[in-house]
């Protein structure tokens, strides 16, 4: 099968800081990729490059056969991106904001209106359709963000910590939605620090640390390499920290104990 996202020898530096080191990934349609790694590992940088937001990288990135450097606009129109904790123009109402997104995705107004109604209804926000988002809770804003990433029915969906602030019911709904979207052939790129959820939703997990891929495979495969019965959290810790966090928490406790 033709990969939907193909990354070859991707390198990216900010000044002297080498953030991504020779990353190569092929992602097939319908895959749900759990993209994980410690803080500052280079996750958001990868995502920004795939979305066409960063242009000055070395290597080759194609999305559905489109070279991202040559035609970023073409790539943007088939990607739905839900950024983490993003700001919204909250003096607008959900209907107005989503209409804006719709027209930026070059959608027809009647289609946008139809989808806004269906999606707001699904997320239980129909009653807030015409209210200013200034008074919205974190969870409500997050739902609007998710809708804005899906409204143009993209082939590739990039979710960055999409569940933050959502209540348990919405979490269940999103998880189900991810599964069904993948079944329909959508490719999902899921970045998160919540290991238990990544473990459940993704059929392929890519772990990066310090700009390099250090593990790539299904959860089952990772378990096979790391010892049966381990959780993703354990695997993550084994591969990225060498037990440093135990040491750190020990040091913190020592500090308090000394004072007593």
């Amino acid at each position: 099968m033709e990969p939907v996202i193909s990354i070859r020898n991707l390198n990216k530096s900010y000044g002297t800081k080498h953030v991504l080191k020779d990353i190569s990934i092929d992602i097939l349609p319908g895959q749900v990729i759990g993209y994980i790694g410690p803080n500052g590992a280079g996750k958001s940088t990868t995502v920004k490059i795939i979305c066409g937001l960063l242009q000055d990288f070395k290597g080759e990135v194609t999305v559905k056969g489109i070279d991202i450097r040559k035609n970023p606009v073409g790539v943007k129109s088939i990607i739905g991106y839900v950024p983490e904790l993003a700001e919204l123009y909250d003096v607008l109402s959900p209907a107005e904001f989503l209409n804006l997104m719709g027209s930026l995705y070059n959608m027809h107004k009647t289609l946008v209106d139809e989808r806004i109604d269906t999606m707001l209804d699904a997320f239980g926000l129909m009653g807030n359709k015409d209210q200013s988002m200034e008074t919205f809770s974190k969870g409500m804003k997050q739902k609007i963000l998710i809708i804005s990433g899906l409204i143009h029915n993209p082939d590739i969906i990039i979710l960055d910590e999409p569940l933050s602030g959502l209540d348990a019911n919405s979490v269940i709904m999103i998880k189900e939605l991810i599964e069904r979207l993948a079944k329909n052939g959508k490719t999902i790129f899921y970045c998160s620090h919540m290991m238990d959820i990544v473990e459940k939703v993704s059929d392929r997990i890519i772990l990066i640390d310090d700009g390099r891929i250090i593990a790539d495979g299904s959860f089952e495969e990772l378990k096979r390499n790391q010892g049966e019965g381990a959780s993703l959290e354990k695997i993550f810790a084994n591969l990225t920290s060498n037990g440093e966090m135990h040491e750190a928490s020990g040091k913190l406790m020592q500090m308090f104990e000394k004072e007593q």
Partner: protein, 567 residues
């Protein structure tokens, strides 16, 4: 903290034993006040709208700026001491002006001090006792007040020392103190009344409108008062022979000041002294008794509406008027923009301009300024409507002035378009497939023109027809076409940014000054040329065509802007 703040803080904290007796924790008090004063310096006050920069050197300007700003205002009070004679008259005028100006300063500056939402989250959960908290708030208010009141009174104080006997000095200072207290209580009452008549949600916007009005009033009074004053013969007024001043607190303060200085305690004079001393007491009583009980809970509501957003219920009443099928912005967008990105930019900008409090605060005052400028010009030129009708040189000049001065509102609005405190939300323009960002900008510029110039243009066309028939029409249309050209040119040069995508503080100051001069020079130059071709109808008609073509071309180039040309 600036040196001024440090000095005032040192003075305020020096009677430590007194605070300790009240149960105040001194280290808490010092920590809270230091943090508060530091934050004040990083805030932009309504008077000192100069942007503070990140590099520290300008951070310190805020309280110094406030100080200088109120000192300049204080210079205006000198007017009282040099245009009228007699201490009572001088001081009545002084105290009236002082109370008005101080109250206005306070109402614009104190919103954030009195209603600091963050206190509830940051200070209250910590082990800080109530008296420390209250004392910190009072001292904070006191320091802010001194920063305004001292420079405000300083010029008058010096004038007073020079003009009046030394014995009057102490009563003068006491009365200044009393009137300051009265002003604070006045502001409290105003806040409370606003809270009584309106919902807490609207409170912030009402305060911003008061701030806008204040900016205009100050500008207007700077320009107009001295001129009008020269005409009125205030020196001849004898207050003592009138009865209405008796009910007017500034008159009491002035009277008591005069009587105390000569130790006159006769019947009427002791009455005024008594009234002066009682006025703050009565004001405190009124505020505490009638307003305060609901104050805290209402203030709580203001905070709640800003912070506790989870309380939004389904179908809550606070809806925007967007549910209806017909909207002005949509239909105007249909007429003036082409489909796609341009329309999106238009509707987006239209809504942001009309809803963002920050944008209104920066742009609406300029409407007032231009009106003041025009009124001023009208008075100075001594032109009449007859001049305009007959198209004398004075009348022509007037017409030109009216047409071109109003363009400053639009120019100001255009230059504000890239800025927003929600600049981070502009990510949506980065992730969506926008081929040419220029279309967004052109839509956005069109929205600004429609909101900030079209109504004025229509008004001018209609009043032109009303006053002179069709005679002035070609000239008015040329003026409007020229302004269209100017504004599109300014947009083309200046607006290589996505609307509302930039934080205010990242703007270069030097570049700005050049732009302001440039912005003023172009309309002035075009107005100048226009004046000389005023009567040549064919030249006018040709110029209209030329201006319209140029604007069309500029808009065409704006639409063609590529991502690589966006800053």
């Amino acid at each position: 903290m600036s040196i001024l703040d440090k000095i005032l803080l040192y003075i305020a904290l020096s009677p430590a034993f007194l605070y300790r007796r009240l149960g105040v924790n001194m280290s808490h008090l010092r920590a809270i006040l230091t943090a508060k004063l530091t934050m004040d310096n990083r805030r932009v006050s309504s008077i000192n709208q100069k942007r503070t920069k990140r590099d520290g050197s300008e951070k310190k300007r805020s309280s110094a700026g406030l100080f200088i700003g109120s000192f300049l205002m204080g210079l205006m009070f000198l007017y009282c001491f040099f245009t009228v004679s007699g201490m009572t008259m001088q001081l009545t005028m002084f105290f009236s002006m002082y109370i008005v100006v101080l109250s206005l300063f306070l109402i614009t500056d104190f919103t954030t001090v009195l209603i600091d939402v963050r206190d509830n989250q940051i200070i209250l959960p910590k082990p800080v006792n109530d008296s420390t908290f209250v004392t910190a708030r009072l001292i904070h208010i006191g320091i802010r007040l001194s920063l305004i009141a001292i420079p405000l009174v300083l010029p008058s104080f010096i004038a007073f020392v020079i003009i009046h006997p030394f014995a009057a000095l102490l009563p003068f200072l006491i009365m200044v103190l009393i009137s300051s207290v009265v002003s604070i209580l006045l502001i409290n009452a105003v806040y409370l009344i606003i809270l009584k008549v309106t919902t807490p949600e609207k409170f912030q916007s009402i305060i911003s409108y008061i701030q806008i009005a204040f900016a205009i009033v100050i500008y207007g009074s700077y320009q107009l008062v001295p001129r009008l004053g020269l005409k009125a013969n205030l020196g001849a007024v004898q207050l003592d022979q009138l009865t209405w001043p008796m009910f007017f607190p500034p008159y009491w303060f002035a009277k008591s000041c005069e009587n105390l200085s000569v130790l006159n305690f006769s019947g009427s004079s002791s009455l005024y002294i008594l009234l002066s001393l009682l006025s703050p007491v009565v004001a405190v009583y009124l505020v505490v008794k009638y307003f305060a009980p609901s104050f805290n809970s209402k203030l709580g509501l203001i905070n709640a509406s800003a912070v506790e957003s989870s309380s939004v219920k389904e179908g809550a009443t606070k809806g925007l008027k967007t549910g209806k099928k017909f909207s002005i912005s949509d239909s105007l967008a249909g007429i003036f923009t082409s489909d796609g990105g341009e329309r999106a930019g238009f509707i987006f900008t239209w809504k942001m301009m009309r809803r963002s409090r920050e944008f209104k605060m920066k742009v609406y005052p300029s409407i007032g300024y231009t009106v003041v400028m025009n009124v001023l010009f009208f008075f100075n030129s001594k032109a009449s409507f007859g001049d305009i009708v007959e198209m004398t040189s004075k009348g022509k000049l007037m017409t030109i002035m009216f047409i071109y001065i109003f363009s400053f509102v639009l120019i100001n609005a255009l230059n504000r378009l890239p800025y927003s405190d929600k600049y981070k939300a502009a990510w949506i323009f980065m992730i969506t497939p926008i081929d040419r960002p220029g279309v967004l900008i052109s839509g956005s510029v069109k929205a600004a023109i429609l909101v900030f110039y079209l109504p004025l243009a229509l008004l001018m066309v209609l009043s032109g027809i009303f006053i002179t028939g069709y005679q002035l029409l070609p000239n008015i249309i040329l003026g409007c076409a020229n302004i269209l050209t100017i504004s599109s040119l300014i947009a083309f040069i200046n607006l290589k940014k996505i609307p509302f995508s930039e934080s205010d503080s990242s703007d270069g100051q030097g570049e700005n000054t050049v732009m302001i001069i440039f912005n003023l020079l172009i309309p002035a130059a075009l107005g100048f040329i226009h004046y000389y071709i005023f009567d040549k109808i064919w030249v006018i008609l040709t110029s209209i065509l030329i201006a319209a073509t140029i604007s069309w071309l500029i808009f065409y180039s704006i639409k063609k802007l590529k991502w690589s040309e966006i800053k």
